[in-house]
Amino acid sequence: MTTLSPTARHLIDGFQRGLPLRPRPYAEMADRLGVDEETVLALLARLQAEGVVSRVGAVVEPHAAGWSTLAAMSVPPWALAQIADFVSAYPEVNHNYEREHRLNLWFVVTAPTPEAVRRVLDGIEYRVGVPVLDLPLEEAFRLDLGFALQWH
């Protein structure tokens, strides 16, 4: 597990949302963190290289810009890693996890249209030979707004 500097923690605590929509967003972040813009740029690049930060960008409402679904499969444990790699190779698959359940492989498929999502699920089902459950979002009660991290 990565240990972070106080500045890195403040950056993550303060900017999971509300990135300034003005020409120099990193300079504004730097002002609020009490450092200079170059420090923020270097810190973000380092956190990204270390894998702590995925990106500085947008989390998009899944059904606004396209379509997405949560999919689940039950695959034999001995084949799980290989099937998971096969599923991950689809560019439409953005999250792919093993979970503790008989349905042990869970992944998110995102594409421009519901039909395109369906084609990916059908393709995986056909090629792997295991049913794929299609569990699209029907109602969101709490969206991904980032969350406060416990540092200790």
């Binding site: 960008g57 810009a65 099937i83 790699d85 190779a89 009660f141």
Partner: protein, 175 residues
């Protein structure tokens, strides 16, 4: 929430995140053939309409020690889902909460919530607290802790290149 062609280009251009340069919106503008001001106005509009939920640092929680990630699901009578969800989203440790369709017999659950934590025991206690608080005790429930993470990145909305049409075999999976 119909998107203009410009808005689609903009979302595609920032899929991998904003560049770490002093004027990132200007650089995105160069990529989509628009001014810095047009990029800022476009992103502002997408945020105001809720197409973009948040713009900021996207953290990979696993790398920060959040290894106990529990997708908790219940089979809740349809009429009781919203009431239960209203309680769940008020709990500080519930980070996501959704309704999804049941797929019986394999999958009887319709209410999903996510609890991320560092310690499995703490997360299990939080799930029990959530179950009791939302009046879900006694209903069918499952807690699906995550194990291996095979892939995690932002969504892509541009049409993807077609995959080669081959049957799955161990050799294609390894390639």
């Amino acid at each position: 929430m119909a998107l203009t062609p410009f808005e689609r280009r903009l979302l595609t251009a920032i899929e991998d995140g904003l560049p770490f340069v002093p004027r990132p919106y200007a650089l995105i503008g160069e990529r989509v053939g628009a001014s810095e001001a047009a990029v800022i106005a476009g992103l502002t509009g997408l945020l105001e309409r809720g197409v973009i939920r948040r713009l900021g640092v996207v953290v990979r929680h696993h790398e920060l020690g959040y290894r106990a990630n529990a997708m908790t699901v219940w089979d809740v009578p349809d009429g009781a889902v919203r009431g239960a969800a209203a309680v769940l989203v008020g709990l500080p440790f519930v980070t996501l909460c959704y309704r999804r369709p049941r797929r019986p017999p394999l999958w009887p659950y319709n209410l999903f919530c996510m609890v991320h934590g560092k310690d499995r025991g703490v997360v299990e206690a939080q799930v029990e607290e959530a179950t009791a608080a939302a009046g879900l005790s006694g209903l069918p429930r499952a807690i699906l802790f995550s194990k291996r993470r095979f892939k995690q990145r932002g969504a892509r909305y541009a049409p993807a290149p077609a995959m080669k049409e081959t049957a799955w075999t161990p050799s294609t999976a390894a390639s």
